[in-house]
Subunit: 336 residues, 2 copies
């Protein structure tokens, strides 16, 4: 790892800040990053009116951070399927108007009046968050890292030999859609069955809790959530109260994570797994400790030096990582 | 991929052949490789007398190929756990005297009187075979390849962005020890439960066939094999005869392979999976076709361009790949 600043090879030797944007379904979170440190942040609600409105919201967020004219690069992490090579969002179900491919990098380049020499990078939001944790967070100092983000769904990103792996079709890191049941199992939101996400994603856990409740096993989860979304905080409270269904669903989530993460570690040989997202955020470090235990008991190489650790950058990981992805050095980015 | 010869950057511009050795429990298989073509081969029985005898057998094999003095590198692929950085066999249960770490590269360097400028590489035999198939066999032209070798056990090797991945602890590619059952399952030869190898490895399939036979479900597998090793050819005959146990065990093997290979493809994004080893060799291309189908139905990205193909280099893949690993160019090796 270089000990220089975050954009050590910027032309002319002048190192200017980077802007990173985490473009989500509810908010556009921006950060201004200087030498690996967040020196400013801005938040704009994600508009529901369509592509032009979303582009305008990103432009506004960049404006609040001082504008694109005085930075060395702009990075966007967006929830969805991305073609990072062209900066196109192929599919982004959480963004209004993005139900068809949108050439976001091209649209933003024009709207921001970005000089062609300033990099504009669009990548998946979880890839960006994993890059953030790798460079500046929980996985700092390690070069072989899997990040798993457990929220409504389960996303992932993978860093091998110090570099974010995208893969030939841009699909690398999709740990949520690794199977944990050989035949059948719960249906995943992607349509297939028995995937990690069907056991560890909040939405799938909610659906299963409601199914069991309706089938005659009452649970605090449904009693507390009512007809509203069953938030991670509801799971945390039900677990504290010793609710049987909540305990059982959490066990299944932990074992499914143990199996999928052990498979990843066995296949590519990892040093660290970083667990982030809303579910571990609400359930606390004990959850990550249980996942680590579930991984360790399944590892072929024993004793293994593999660690499973909680993410440390919180809600800014995605925006921060997006900024680092836009550094002109093209990968040579490190904190001071 | 370079279009130059197999060791294009050899010092002085002189390109000499390479020697590759596949060091197995029953035979030492050597090849002489010139510009990506096998121009000679030699075979010596693996002695049972201990480390010195094994080293002598390798020296004899190298001698039959013209000796180490006129080649640009010597590569060894050995069945076992290898520290490729130092060329040490940490564990090689099939080689007499190798029940403790053996510094094979150092011993062979002395015994072969190899100039220090001539590379001597020791790696895992499956890694070597996968490199062979990647450079010159079934995966030629692709840069993101998983090789899975189905024999007594199940081994693997992984090439990402054109390079064999070893991983920080040297453990990458161990697809045989990826779990396919979330809780419990058949015990694997490694001691853990529910691994791919416990369903698709010949030894585990044999153990399960005998268990079912003893428990009152007679099978041709046991009737044909008697007390001898249940060879892959016995499986092939029992399947042809429609034996229920054989059909069931094969189904389980195919589904387990489908699950583990789909997990690998989902995690790192692969272009090709090459299936080699004794079991697919005897069961024919229909087996690989069934595995491809089992993988495809589990892939998150659909339709996927991923292909599952049989290995094409046969018994020489390991020796050939070992030779390529020893090319002085350090990875810049391609056929003419």
């Amino acid at each position: 790892m270089s000990s220089d600043g975050p954009h050590a090879t910027a032309p002319g030797g002048v190192r200017r800040p980077l802007i990173g944007i985490d473009l989500g379904g509810t908010k556009v979170q921006g950060v201004l990053v200087d030498h690996g440190t967040v020196v400013g942040d801005a938040k704009v609600a994600t508009p529901m009116g369509g592509v032009a409105d979303v582009v305008a919201a990103v432009v506004e967020c960049v404006g609040r951070l001082g504008g694109a004219g005085s930075v060395d690069g702009v990075g966007i992490g967006a929830a969805g399927v991305i073609d990072a090579a062209t900066g196109t969002l192929l599919q982004a179900p959480n963004l209004a108007g993005f139900d068809r491919p949108v050439p976001l990098a091209a649209l933003l380049g024009d709207a921001l009046e970005l000089p062609s020499s300033t990099p504009l990078v669009v990548d998946n939001d979880v890839n960006a968050a994993v890059v953030g944790e790798h460079r500046l967070g929980a996985a700092r100092g390690f070069d072989n890292v899997l990040g798993v983000w457990v929220g409504t769904g389960v996303g992932g990103g993978i860093v091998l030999d110090g570099r974010l792996r995208r893969g030939p079709a841009g699909g690398a890191g999709e740990i949520g859609h690794v199977g944990v049941v050989v035949d059948g199992g719960r249906q995943c939101r992607c349509g297939l069955f028995g995937h990690l996400e069907s056991y560890a994603g909040r939405a799938s856990m909610e659906a299963e809790a409601r199914r069991r409740h309706d089938a005659g096993t009452p649970t605090l989860l449904v009693e507390m959530a009512g007809r509203k979304r069953m938030k991670s905080s509801v799971f945390a409270k039900a677990l504290e109260a010793g609710d049987e269904v909540a305990l059982d669903l959490l066990d299944e989530a932990v074992q499914a994570l143990g199996m999928a993460l052990a498979a990843a570690a066995t296949l590519v040989d990892l040093e660290v797994v970083v667990v982030g997202g809303g579910v571990p955020g609400k359930l606390g470090s004990r959850f990550v400790g249980r996942v680590e235990q579930a991984v360790r008991t399944r590892l072929f190489v024993r004793p293994s030096p593999l660690r499973v650790v909680p993410a440390t950058l919180g809600d800014l990981a995605g925006a921060l990582g997006a900024a680092l992805l836009a550094a002109p050095a093209g990968g040579v980015v490190a904190p001071q």
